[in-house]
């Protein structure tokens, strides 16, 4: 079971009749999913440009993984929780974040709710029950379990879903997170975005297990391998897992078998290590093209409406950047506030010293270098 791969939408854009009959996705839903995928792709292309022109310091993307995270996140209710890694901006779009807020985050300016404290793409979005992204890998996995435990304890019927890469399955926190969830039968859905690479390290160097999905057996939970470039399969498999969780039947591990079409980040060049031809062969499986074929064949979208969706996304981004660029730096105090609820005396002293110094001598020179990877 665990090494079979589930697919609903074939690469030629056709869909199994059974799925069509049984799915609860309306045309409205399909459009919404498609629009979010497009926005996500545009967000990536444009953000990389911003990065190259020095307007943001860094970008880490998800090209090729739009179906994987947007299809799955669409299976959640709004009061469910999501603990993303860093390749899931589409989840935020689904949950209603303002594009401008995300761009401000990347710029680290005062429009960033986290006040320029973290690197680009490390979003926090509590309104959308979307956790706080951190760089250390796999740490979010036990958090998702804790949320689920707490919710169950408080008799809230919510589910917690977390994303992580296949590289991250090698960390101890993957192991411990899945084991705790299973032992406590917590309502969690674990989604491994197996995009074949962890920076320059291929999945074959990460694990020699039959699949990522089969790792579920070590924890006594179901493990399912899905075509991660098939947005409909991602939706359906996640939906089933979410339902199981919500019904008190415990956690599930989903392996989304997909591919990172870009480099690891704006600082990486995958050409250094990617075997020839691999990228091209996966570009054929681009999840957006495949979904487009389907939507066109079903007359849910037309070439015109597709163009409009794309143009709108571009325009939305352009506008949001304009807005974001008007915003100034966060107040200097935010460097010191929020370490604790109440600022300790010693930190207050550091703050006062530093603010006085900046007043006396003018602002410090910003001679930081570019982020190297």
């Amino acid at each position: 079971m665990s090494s079979e791969i589930i697919q609903v939408l074939k690469e030629d854009g056709t869909v199994s009749p059974l799925f069509k009959k049984e799915t609860d996705l309306t045309e409205q839903d399909l459009k919404k999913i498609y629009e979010t995928m497009i926005l996500t792709r545009v967000y990536e292309e444009r953000s990389l440009k911003l990065q190259r022109s020095g307007r943001i310091g860094f970008y880490i993307g998800c090209k090729g993984q739009e179906a994987s995270h947007i299809g799955s996140a669409y299976a959640l209710k709004m009061d469910d929780w999501v603990f993303p890694a860093y390749r899931e901006p589409g989840v935020l779009f689904l949950r209603g974040i303002a594009l401008k807020t995300m761009i401000c985050q990347m710029m680290g300016n005062a429009g960033d709710p986290t006040m320029g404290r973290q690197m680009p793409c490390h979003y926090s979005y509590k309104e959308g029950n979307n956790g706080s992204v951190s760089s250390p890998l796999a740490t979010q996995i036990p958090h998702a379990v804790g949320i689920a435990y707490a919710a169950k304890y408080m008799k809230h019927k919510i589910v917690s879903l977390t994303y992580f890469g296949e590289g991250s399955t090698s960390e101890g926190d993957f192991h411990t997170g899945l084991n705790f969830a299973a032992v406590f039968k917590s309502p969690v859905v674990f989604i491994c975005q197996n995009n074949q690479w962890a920076i320059s390290v291929p999945v074959a160097r990460q694990t020699v297990s039959e699949s990522i999905a089969i790792k579920a057996k070590a924890y006594g939970m179901p493990g399912i391998k899905v075509d991660g470039n098939d947005v409909l399969a991602m939706y359906q498999v996640t939906k089933d897992a979410v339902e199981r969780a919500r019904n008190g039947d415990g956690p599930t591990l989903i392996e989304s078998f997909t591919y990172r079409l870009g480099s690891h980040s704006s600082s990486d060049d995958a050409a250094r290590y990617r075997p020839e031809g691999e990228l091209e062969s996966w570009e054929q499986k681009d999840p957006i093209i495949r979904f487009e074929k389907y939507l066109l064949s079903e007359n849910i979208l037309t070439p015109e409406s597709i163009k409009k969706i794309k143009d709108d996304a571009e325009e939305e981004f352009t506008q949001a950047v304009k807005e974001a660029e008007k915003v100034g730096l966060p107040p200097l105090e935010t460097l010191f506030t929020g370490v604790y609820k109440d600022m300790p005396e010693s930190l207050r002293e550091q703050m006062e010293d530093l603010i006085n110094e900046q007043k006396r001598l003018g602002a410090s020179e910003d001679n930081s270098m570019a982020f190297p990877l």
């Binding site: 404290r117 926090s124 740490t139 707490a150 997170g177 705790f180 929020g338 609820k341 005396e345």
Partner: protein
């Protein structure tokens, strides 16, 4: 009032808070049915059930990682790390996640969690059942570090810690668990975090310490009294936030300082106390700031009583500073 051991005071604080607030949950290895290997959580399983007195699988990173999630959701988890020596598998969750969550999320998420853990030597536990790891955590912005030295403070500080909005490392001097008794109110009360306490006022020299070193410093102070040296013993109680004012005022008054801690000397938190004095009160000093601390070796077994600071060693340091 009841005459309780430090351990009973901890147990009483947990019980009171769990009765008062259903968001409070204890979890860890052997904390449930067994009541903890030191019995700190004894009786909680029977009174509050397996859901609130949770035996977890054997993974410190899991215990803390899950607690962080619980706290983000609004609970008040009180995870136990069985011995502080076993906190390291959870180090990443503590310093990378719990400590930084409020700051990095712009206050969207917070981690009101108390990590209770017995620390320190004196029970023949060797390398791995004796360590005092406060320096690691006190150097990590975002964490509070609290260490009681007596039953009254233990209960009051633990209740404050549970009600605190930030993650607290609550270190319990296991050597004093059963050896120290004191009057403790049966109801709930708090001792504020961030205030040192002058356990013994004196005018000749200040001795700064915390946790299990306090009784030892008091013993040394007594001995010093016989030599006509009037020692002030300051119990820091909380390393972060640190009550710098009380430290500086004490040094201004006495002009002399000794710092006592049982962790390895180099890079221990006592270095920070000495550094603060050298920074802010140098003009008041009439002698060196001496440190009496653990040795720069792993914690030994056979020679543990020699490794650990005792009142003789503290007294010798006092004498040296006085005679400087």
């Amino acid at each position: 009032m009841a005459n309780l051991t430090l351990l009973q005071a901890i147990n009483s604080a947990l019980r009171e808070e769990m009765r008062r607030d259903e968001r409070v949950i204890v979890l860890g290895e052997d904390v449930g049915k067994n009541g903890g290997v030191f019995r700190a959580t004894e009786g909680l399983f029977d009174e509050f059930g397996a859901e609130r007195s949770v035996d977890t699988p054997l993974s410190e990173s899991g215990i803390i990682g899950m607690s962080i999630g619980m706290a983000m959701y609004g609970l008040r988890p009180v995870p136990e790390i069985q011995f502080m020596d076993f906190i390291y598998p959870a180090f990443d969750q503590i310093v990378s996640e719990a400590a930084k969550m409020r700051y990095r999320s712009g206050g969207q998420y917070t981690v009101p969690m108390v990590i209770r853990t017995p620390y320190g030597g004196g029970i023949r536990g060797g390398h791995y059942h004796s360590q005092s790891a406060e320096a690691y955590f006190a150097h990590t912005p975002g964490l509070k570090v609290v260490i009681p030295s007596n039953p009254y403070d233990a209960k009051g500080l633990l209740i404050s810690a549970i009600r605190d909005e930030d993650p607290v490392i609550f270190m319990e001097p296991k050597r004093l668990y059963r050896s120290l008794k004191g009057e403790v109110p049966e109801t709930d009360y708090t001792v504020p975090i961030g205030k040192a306490s002058i356990t013994r006022a004196g005018k000749d020299i200040s001795v700064f310490a915390y946790g299990a070193m306090i009784p030892i410093c008091l013993e040394a102070a007594k001995k010093a009294e016989e030599h006509d040296i009037d020692v002030e013993v300051v119990d820091l109680r909380s390393l972060v936030p640190l009550d710098i004012k009380t430290i500086i005022n004490s040094v201004k008054k006495t002009g002399r300082a000794v710092v006592v801690y049982e962790a390895p000397k180099t890079g221990g938190f006592g270095a920070e106390i000495a550094a603060i004095i050298a920074e802010k009160a140098i003009e008041y000093l009439e002698g060196p700031v001496l440190r009496v601390a653990g040795l720069d070796t792993p914690f030994p077994y056979t020679f543990e009583h020699i490794y650990m600071p005792d009142s003789r060693r503290v007294f010798e340091a006092i004498e040296k500073v006085i005679n400087f």
